[in-house]
Amino acid sequence: MNDEKLDRKQLAAIRMDARRQRITRIRKRTALFAISLAVIFTALVIARQGAIPGLSEQPVQVASLSAPQTAPVVEYEEDDEEEDDDDYEKQAVAPQAQPAGQFYSSDTAAPVQSSQS
């Protein structure tokens, strides 16, 4: 009986620790996103003139430049974390057809293209 109680306590401690790690990971990711946004416009935006046919003489205009601010930190309720775990378990056992597609090789330097959705 005592062993069983001990196991439950250990299990609860392990789950709590895992949950803390997940929350920490999410907070780090949120902070990383803020850092990412900070570098986007300072270093690597390359606006190319002349990309639109017939409009190559038009200047590139910068509409506005705003002051840096601190990004908000997103807090996650523990109950939500619990629900996520349950959902994940359900999805993991559900049989699903594999979408027909093609694998290809790429590299981290190759750009991802965003066109009108």
């Binding site: 606006a47 639109i52 597609g101 093609q102 991802v112 293209q113 965003s114 009108q116 959705s117």
Partner: protein, 300 residues
Amino acid sequence: MSDEQSLLGYSFPAFGSKVRIEASGPAAEGILLAAAREVKKVSETLTRFDPTSPLCQLNADRRSEVQVEPLLLDFIDRALEASRMTDGLIDPTLLPELEAAGYRETWSRVGGRVIDGEGLDRTESNPDKRWREIHVDHQAGTVTRPPGVRFDAGGIGKGMAADMAAVILEEASVWSVDCLGDIRVGGGRLVEIASPERDAGQLAEFQIEDGALATSGTTRRSWKRSDGSRAHHLIDPRTGQPSQGDLVQVSALAPTAVEAEARAKAALLTGLDQAQGWLPHGGIAVDSKGHLHLFRGDHG
């Protein structure tokens, strides 16, 4: 190419076109297939061109309260959140207006054809704030809306698919998902923004460490009318007609693809004067004269 730089990609049909996902690392193949299943599931649930899809079944249901599957409920929830954020500029109930403008079939059938709009049944046409009458009950698994209100997934559906795939792709150190312009990346990727004009190259490049970018515009998914005018798929909920603003394309940065999609469309609909307010994380807009406008985000 070193292992650190190599990525495995997977391209597959969804949302009536091709979706591309990429991931690094030895587990990439399994991650990509799992992410592809998520995207495909969203695409099949939210298509309006398959009468057996959960979205079509909901649209055809004349009851005011309908039990729907969790994924469809999740979409309606995210779409309504976008509606609240944009005060109704994003409205998932504009399907009657979209069909009346001419977009009644898959894009592969609409593109390149001359299609005239048609009159709208005035009992259906009252788009302003129609979304406010929709209620989601997660506990009961039901959506309640006035009978006759029909949903279109639009860009929010694609953004949702990208966000759901991202949850799986985050297991890789470098990854990306491109759902027809709604993009999520992690671990640092270069993202190029295509010109509003087809085959006209790139407008700009962004290096994004972790986040989303969505591009919305009026020039690609557009069609001719017999009077020579052009119509397109972006309906302005304030008029019920294709938007007539001074911007033809907007790309928005945001933490999630759904938010980026909502911000891009809201900026496009409200025009250059108000675009800055819709793009707090940054973005790029192209106006009808071809000028490029760069918006630096609040974060730097």
